[in-house]
């Protein structure tokens, strides 16, 4: 074999890689795209590890995407000095997270469960997949994975192109939207302006999205697509629904028995989406029964004039300014109506 080395090639490779990555990053920044963290299992597990803080220092949130958009974490933390540990996962049924926390003897804190009826009262199945993977990752994660996560953080904090959902190779291939085969499920794509994620796992839509009805209509079309999947399906048998109530009660009782607290919240939706939810999931059969059955307090946005008027740009999630407003009122309701002590004199780290 040749005795010469590949040093010249290695150096040129380095130059090419830096040049291409640098150009790509500058291009994305010039388009005004903000930093967004990969909301995969490592980030979820990092938050999951925070649930052991004392009851007065943290509140844990589980649920679906609504609480991730609607709870403005900086506002929450500025107003309360209490950590908001966000464990909700978009498009998921939060019951596996509830059970995971209930079965963790070291969790004795306060838990707020966001209820989107179509997801919360769904059968176990594909909707649990992401959350179950996150839970497994948390319990199995190795020291090496923890270190990788902390090494990754400064990179993701600096580079816009490290947005796996929109700029990875697979994301770009998905954007080609190659026509699907008949009968094959394809996850619809969401515009990037709708899906940004902070390190604290708060999701937000950009100001451009809030004013752009074309983008909003794309997301509305996605909701219609998801709704169409369930069309024609028979209603859930009473026995199955009862089993869900029962399992939720078992979980909430476990947490309360250890001194923890559980509260359910129904975050805003609007327009035809809300109308559809009212028809599909009548309040007395689902929400009211959930509170009665589990004997837990709850906050339904329609019960409080301060938070009942929000208009969701794409019918299901709040814009960031509205999320700030919602969070302020939500804290007030928790303190005044539900007697939660939410002001902590200790400064957050």
């Amino acid at each position: 074999m040749e005795k010469k080395s590949l040093l010249k090639s290695a150096l040129l490779t380095l130059v090419i890689v830096i040049f291409v990555i640098g150009s790509w990053e500058i291009y994305l920044r010039n388009k005004g795209i903000p930093i967004s963290y990969d909301d995969g299992p490592p980030l979820w597990a990092n938050n999951r590890a925070m649930v052991y803080e004392p009851l007065d220092d943290a509140v844990v949130f589980i649920g679906s995407s609504r609480i991730k958009y609607d709870l403005d974490i900086p506002t929450w933390q500025n107003k309360t000095n209490i950590h908001a540990v966000q464990l909700a996962v978009e498009g998921s049924n939060p019951r596996p997270a509830l059970e995971d926390l209930a079965n963790d003897p070291n969790f004795k804190g306060r838990l707020i469960v966001d209820v989107t009826e179509g997801l919360f009262f769904s059968k176990s199945g594909p909707l649990d997949k992401t959350l179950n993977e996150n839970i497994k990752y948390f319990h199995d994660r190795t020291p090496a994975q923890k270190i990788s996560f902390f090494l990754n953080k400064p990179l993701e904090s600096q580079f816009v192109f490290l947005n796996k959902d929109y700029f990875s190779l697979n994301a770009k291939l998905d954007e080609l939207e190659i026509p699907r085969r008949a009968g094959v499920f394809m996850m619809p794509l969401f515009p990037i302006e709708f899906s940004h994620n902070t390190f604290e796992r708060q999701m937000f839509m950009t100001p451009e999205f809030v004013v752009d009805t074309v983008l909003q209509n794309k997301v509305k079309a996605n909701w219609a697509f998801f709704a169409s999947l369930g069309k024609g399906a028979p209603p859930m048998p009473t026995a199955e629904l009862d089993a869900i109530f029962k399992s939720v009660k078992v979980a909430t009782d476990k947490i309360k028995a250890r001194g923890g607290e559980v509260l359910f919240v129904r975050t805003p939706s609007s327009g035809v989406y809300l109308q559809g939810e009212k028809i599909g999931f009548p309040r007395e059969k689902y929400w009211d029964k959930l509170l009665t059955y589990t004997n837990c307090p709850g906050i339904h946005f329609l019960d409080y004039p301060a938070i009942d008027h929000f208009v969701c740009p794409e019918l299901s999630h709040l814009s960031r300014p509205d999320a700030i407003e919602f969070t302020k009122h939500f804290i007030d309701i928790l303190e005044k109506d539900k007697n939660w002590k939410l002001t902590n004199s200790n400064k957050l780290n």
Partner: protein, 483 residues
């Protein structure tokens, strides 16, 4: 820790820095040993105790085996070592499997036995380091090589992090002499190593994880009967994934070792260009197949005791080789199917040899003079190998049978599962892998690299790096870690 992680990049930079400091060779070896323990502990720290136990037992037993003249005592020492090594492997890897089969047997003969389900965690790479230490003990017993002089060198031989968890399975003469004298990578070794590391990561991160794994997983995890197209695409996807994942790991391991100045044996040699199954096993997981040949097939009689014994040795080796991969009867079936392929190949070869008895018999099917015919045989081999992957990847025989039915159109119309994009990815990548293997089957990647101009190497190399970055798929485990 895995090669495709930020933790490994940081770890490797520190190791490279320490290894190139003006320290004594002994200090550098201690650094490498400690680094290897950290590398292993990064999965599950308590399991490092098993590694120590295995190392210490085999070092002292190995030395005693070599010097012991009393035949009875020598046998006892060998048994102690085998119990120590295989006992751990059996407990951690096959404990649950054995218990399940015992329970099934009890229930089959009428005993209602339901023990508590054991919760045994499989230590990463236990099959690999057990085979590494086992061959040392057997070599000492048979006085095939000299005992390792120092515990430090032996510990480093067993634990050296590039090969520790997924091979290549090294033999003492391949690695131990490299620890005897100071070694530092030359500039050529360093750049060659970095190129191999990049190539290995590209195979794993971009092709296996980003392009193929989701398709393979969705097909093998589907509960429905599938259309023929979906079933074949899923199997091809796994076929590509398993090669790219494992060969990617081996390429990374060889590259990392080279950056430190050490040479590890080649583990893959373009197996999907194999012409026949003997040829396949000379190209796939080479260090395992040579291990099985030397420590199982030959002791079982090899081809020295007549045809029946040869066929028995072949099948026994393949069945145990299958079981080595995992505690499931499907792995045994995978090995058995390879055994049958090897039987048929041997039978055809024997018949041909009988017809042309003036020719020397060869272990592999001869490469035909006409390249197209050879390529046809390679494709036939590849297609038959794909059938074996069904048993390797499916969790149960039920799933394997269901998939085979779908592949061969034995069921009605199945439920379409794969997107057009997924089908396109597999249809482009897998044929390209086969073609690449075909054109590379008699050469090596570094030889080809050195034939290119430095500018072209840079273009290819930077494309690989950019694709790795673009894939954004860091951190997933390698398939062979579970073995």
């Amino acid at each position: 820790m895995v090669f495709n992680s930020y933790t490994f990049i940081a770890f490797f930079l520190i190791i490279l820095f320490l290894h190139n400091l003006p320290l004594s060779w002994k200090t550098k070896k201690i650094n490498l040993l400690l680094a290897s323990y950290i590398f292993y502990a990064a999965w599950n720290p308590p399991f490092i105790l098993l590694l120590w136990l295995s190392t210490v037992i085999d070092f002292f037993v190995g030395r005693a085996l070599y010097t012991q003249e009393n035949h009875y005592k020598k046998k006892m020492l060998l048994i102690v070592s085998l119990i120590g090594n295989l006992g751990m492997l059996v407990f951690f890897k096959y404990g649950t499997f054995l218990l399940e089969n015992f329970v099934a047997l009890c229930n089959a003969i009428g005993f209602d036995y339901h023990p508590a389900e054991p919760n045994i965690i499989l230590p990463a790479g236990i099959s690999f380091y057990t085979f590494t230490t086992l061959c040392y003990t057997i070599d000492m017993y048979q006085k095939r090589s000299e005992p390792v002089k120092s515990l430090l060198d032996f510990s480093l031989f067993v634990t050296f992090f590039p090969h520790l968890v997924a091979g290549p399975i090294v033999r003492p003469p391949q690695l131990v002499p490299q620890f005897e004298w100071p070694r530092k990578a030359s500039l050529k070794q360093m750049t060659d190593g970095l190129l191999l590391l990049t190539l290995g990561l590209f195979m794993k991160v971009v092709l296996a994880d980003s392009m193929l794994s989701a398709t393979a997983n969705s097909v093998f995890e589907s509960k429905d009967l599938l259309p023929t197209l979906d079933a074949w695409i899923g199997v091809f996807a796994f076929s590509g994934q398993i090669f790219l994942d494992f060969a990617g790991y081996s390429t990374c391991a060889i590259g990392v070792a080279l950056c430190l100045g050490f040479v590890l044996p080649q583990n893959f040699n373009y197996p999907y260009a194999a012409i026949g199954f003997s040829d396949f096993w000379k190209r796939w997981h080479i260090t395992l197949s040579t291990w099985l040949r030397d420590y199982l097939y030959i002791p079982l009689g090899g081809n020295r005791h007549g045809k029946i014994r040869t066929y028995f040795a072949l099948m026994a080796t393949m069945l145990l080789g299958g079981l080595w991969h995992g505690a499931n009867w499907t792995f045994v079936a995978w090995g058995g199917l390879h055994g049958i392929y090897l039987w048929i190949e041997r039978y055809l070869k024997d018949r041909r040899h009988a017809a042309h008895s003036h020719k020397e018999p060869s272990d592999t099917i001869e490469v035909r003079r006409h390249p197209w015919i050879s390529f046809f045989y390679a494709l036939l081999t590849f297609m038959l190998i794909n059938i074996t992957w069904v048993f390797f990847r499916a969790d149960t025989f039920g799933k394997s049978w269901q998939l085979l039915q779908s592949m061969f159109g034995l069921v009605g119309e199945g439920k379409a599962l794969l997107t057009t994009l997924a089908i396109l990815k597999v249809s482009i990548i897998v044929p390209l892998i086969v073609l690449f293997h075909w054109f590379m089957r008699n050469t090596k990647v570094l030889n080809v690299a050195y034939k290119l101009s430095w500018f072209w190497i840079s273009l290819v190399w930077s494309t690989l790096v950019l694709m790795i970055i673009w894939a954004q798929e860091s951190g997933s485990s390698f398939i062979y870690f579970q073995f």
